[in-house]
Symmetry: C2
DNA sequence: AAAAGTGCTTTGTTTTTCAAAGTTAAATAA
DNA sequence: TTATTTAACTTTGAAAAACAAAGCACTTTT
């Protein structure tokens, strides 16, 4: 038998990063503040998890002004979408005992 | 919107513990050594993760002799099955954006 | 001018993860 | 009978990760 956990992505061990990806995969663009409110996190904690996902090229950032307010918006990348799906597939296979 | 990650079980953040549960949910009884081989872990690492799951009453242990050899076998508990399913449900809901 | 909001970074503590080595007890080989 | 091996841990310690809280730069609102 092949080790069932080796196909799981370590980056997605984190509940918070899973949450971010889940939000971004259906919403296609979400601001820092929206994420913060949805996930109920402190700024620093969110920023560091976003940074981990960014380092992995799973999401990209766009800084802009909306009206006069600064706004940081996050998008999932193709690689991120791919990695997330692969992780979910691996999870499903593992659970189903394939 | 309700925080999508709060229904996730922290115990299942760990890939290894997820793996153990996935194995036990379909196999109903697996020995320490089988788990060790399937998941490719060191003794200590496996023991500590099993301990975490035991503390949570997600699995129970049975020590016995099989022939003349000592054997430690792990079983999932009802609570464990329940918690695991609840976690998977929460994951699914989160991913589907419900 | 003061207060508040955005989006971080920094700092430092706590928690978690893990490998490696040590341990106990039984089994088997020499 | 002594030595080795196997099973299943426990202990130790190091490294990594998670997190809250505070600080900061900048802007906007009051």
């Amino acid at each position: 038998m092949v080790n069932p956990i080796e196909a799981l992505n370590k980056i997605f061990d984190s509940r918070i990063r899973l949450g971010v990806m889940s939000i971004l995969i259906v919403n296609d663009s979400v601001s820092f503040n929206e994420l913060k409110q949805m996930l109920e996190l402190t700024d620093g904690n969110l920023a560091s998890h976003l940074n981990t996902l960014e380092q992995a090229d799973y999401l990209k950032v766009q800084k802009a002004f909306i009206g006069k307010k600064t706004n940081t918006t996050y998008f999932i990348t193709d690689l991120g979408r791919q990695a997330f799906k692969a992780h979910l597939d691996a999870l499903e296979k593992m659970i189903k005992g394939v």
